[in-house]
């Protein structure tokens, strides 16, 4: 599915410092029953955002009005562990987020984000702490994520750190390309390879 291109993003951010946030929290299994990709924001962090009777939990960062409209989430270490459900990445995107920053991501979640147009930005643990501290001190703290220059900056202080992304994925994000277009384009090479497989 096509997604909006990603270039430079400046936004406030939701802070979620809890470590090891797994994809069962990001979207619980009981909300994976759709056969279409739409409205996954509704149950994004369902059991952390809402009581079982549906009342929003006021102290959960994603419910706080002060952060509303942020396009960045700063998450704790090992964000997105567990299940491979791409629904987790869809729910991030559908909630209006385009970037998740963490000091470590689980592999499959990171891949899924890249495939749906959410930029996972891995920073050092120290820089993640700096970001959390800045957001706690001022919830309106803006963060600048510059994909062309692979740099994330705290706008107010200018503190910054560079991040790693391979050139191929970077070009995809910048242009809204995806892997299927690439793979279809080398179809002949793949079919020749398939012929050579023993089973």
């Amino acid at each position: 599915m096509a997604y909006d291109k990603f270039d430079v993003l400046t936004s406030t951010a939701y802070p979620l410092p809890t470590e090891n946030v797994d994809t069962d929290q990001i979207i619980p299994a009981r909300f994976l029953k759709a056969t279409e990709r739409k409205d996954f924001d509704i149950n994004f962090f369902r059991d952390w955002r809402f009581e079982q009777d549906g009342t929003p939990k006021a102290d959960f960062p994603l419910n706080k009005e002060i952060y509303a409209g942020s396009k960045i989430l700063v998450g704790g270490r090992n964000f997105g562990s567990g299940s491979s459900r791409e629904h987790a990445a869809w729910s991030v995107y559908d909630f209006g987020l385009r970037c998740v920053i963490s000091s470590a991501f689980a592999d499959i979640f990171k891949n899924n984000c890249l495939n749906v147009g959410v930029l996972p930005v891995q920073v050092s643990a120290e820089f993640a702490d700096t970001l959390f501290a800045a957001i706690m001190a001022d919830p309106k703290t803006e963060i600048n994520v510059d994909l062309p220059n692979q740099k994330v900056t705290l706008v107010a202080t200018g503190e910054s750190e560079s991040f790693v992304i391979n050139t191929y994925k970077k070009d995809n994000m910048l242009n809204g390309f995806d892997d299927i277009d690439y793979l279809k384009n080398i179809e002949n090479e793949i079919s020749a390879f398939a012929e050579s497989r023993p089973f």
Binding site: N20, P28, K33, N78, E86, I108, V116
Partner: protein, 468 residues
């Protein structure tokens, strides 16, 4: 340069390397189920693509299938809709489909090996993180997202950077009551829930050489729970004996040819891994988890670690214990439980039912325990019946259900109620994993069985010693 098993299999599947990018990686076998495939088919069709190699994809319904009355229409309309979507997509694109009621139906990671679809040296993916199970056969197998499911359907390739390599050796002999599940939970506790992120693991050493194929599947299955993309074990005679004669393994001259290749699948003597760990079998006891990720595991006889002694953030640790309603320093043994779940792609195979029966035979289920015993496939059910385990189960006051993923992720009606404590042989103890508000203790079939008959968390060695 000496190669690892992983290098051999990975490198032989690279169609091309993208400059400063991932490998174009060819997939031999692709499993699909009802939850993560419908959107992939929608994408495929909206782009006007077709399934390029339908014979390389295998569909089975498992994630949200009911585990009672499978002969009746599925009551939940959303689940029924996904099951219909799987069936219709498979039919439309010429893909083999084992739906509800089919003799071959069961959990994808149980039926793949059972039917000989899983082969050494193959690359196997599925929109399910426990695809790592198939690494037990010396395959490279891992979970993928739905975008990648669409890639495989439409091109038979995905784009993956090659992971780093890790070898985990466990040497020596396992003690009484220590099962492959305990070995895996021990390793994960050592590595933590994220310690192997970015790595592909090879398991080596005496313990894995001695282990049955079922046990190896349990260990490889849980690789993802320490963040590894997958885990694998070099194929050996046990592997070949398991596979020979299965429905879809190569036959005759093809088998001989395959064997020649499979015998080359081992890590060469001087091959190097990015990292390597070695553990002693004698240090491992029956394990149980106490927190909300699979890395939070301890020997069943131990008490819950103090916050000051754990790695990682204290806030996260306390939040986790708070969810479980446990305290630092609590003993696990003796905690009253409400539910026992035997099953899942981790422990839903015949050997797991044999282990469970070795404890419950001649005993009775505790009155305070609700137990769900869910075989991984119809073939496992048949084997249970052939071996007379069904009678042991029934006599002990348990009921055998029908195959599916069931309470492992509670997408069907098998949900642990809020606040209830479950000893589960599955793979994840995340908050709400077995139902909103449910609390999960991951353990082996032996610990689950011992706890089911005693009604509290129980060290199976006390029963095994009494039996001896």
């Amino acid at each position: 340069m000496a190669n690892t098993l992983f290098d051999k299999v990975w490198d032989s599947h690279v169609v091309r390397q993208v400059k400063d990018g991932p490998d174009v990686f060819f997939i031999d076998r692709h499993f699909i189920h009802e939850v993560t495939s419908p959107v992939a088919f929608l994408g495929l069709e909206s782009r006007g693509n077709s399934v390029v190699y339908p014979a390389r994809t295998f569909a089975t319904a498992d994630h949200n299938t009911p585990t009672i009355n499978q002969h009746l229409p599925v009551a939940d309309p959303l689940s029924a809709n996904q099951l219909d979507a799987l069936e219709n997509n498979a039919k439309k694109h010429g893909i083999s489909h084992w739906g509800l009621g089919d003799v071959n139906n069961g959990i994808v990671h149980v039926v793949g090996p059972e039917n000989g679809i899983t082969l050494p040296g193959a690359t196997i993916v599925c929109g399910d993180s426990h695809t790592s199970t198939h690494g037990a056969f010396g395959a490279i197998a891992f979970g993928i997202g739905t975008s990648e499911v669409e890639m495989v359907l439409s091109t038979q390739c995905i784009m993956q950077p090659k992971p780093k390599s890790m070898r985990i050796n466990v040497n020596g002999k396992l003690g009484l009551g220590v099962t492959p599940k305990d070995v895996a939970l021990y390793i994960i506790a050592k590595q933590t829930t994220s310690g192997a992120t970015g790595f592909f693991v090879e398991y080596a050493g005496d313990v894995f050489e001695e282990m049955t194929m079922e046990g190896r599947m349990t260990v490889c299955n849980l690789s993802i729970e320490m963040g590894a993309r997958g885990g694998m074990i070099a194929p050996d005679n046990k592997t070949f004996e398991y596979l020979k004669g299965r429905a879809q393994t190569p036959k005759g001259a093809d088998w001989d040819k395959a064997m020649k290749y499979w015998e080359t699948l081992y890590t060469e003597e001087n091959a190097e891994f990015d990292v390597e760990f070695t553990y002693e079998a004698s240090d491992i006891e029956p394990m149980i988890t106490y927190g909300t990720n699979p890395g939070m595991g301890i020997g069943v006889s131990k008490s819950i670690p103090l916050a000051e002694n754990v790695e990682g953030g204290v806030e996260t640790y306390k939040k986790s214990l708070g969810y479980m309603s446990f305290n630092e320093g609590d003993s696990m043994i003796g905690k009253e439980i409400d539910f026992v779940f035997l099953g899942s792609c981790t422990n839903g195979r015949i050997e797991d039912f044999r282990a469970f029966c070795s404890i419950v035979e001649g005993r009775k289920k505790a009155d305070n325990v609700t137990a769900w015993l869910v075989p991984g496939s119809h073939k496992v059910v048949d084997q249970i019946n052939e071996e007379g385990l069904d009678k042991i189960i029934t006599d002990a006051g348990f009921v055998l259900r029908e195959p599916g993923c069931s309470a492992c992720l509670a997408m069907n009606d098998d949900k642990i109620p809020s606040g209830k404590l479950s000893v589960s042989t599955s793979n994840r103890n995340f908050e709400g994993r077995q139902g909103p508000g449910s609390r999960t203790l991951l353990a082996s079939p032996l610990v689950a069985a011992a706890s089911a008959v005693e009604g509290v968390v129980t060290d199976p060695r006390t029963i095994l010693n009494a039996n001896a």
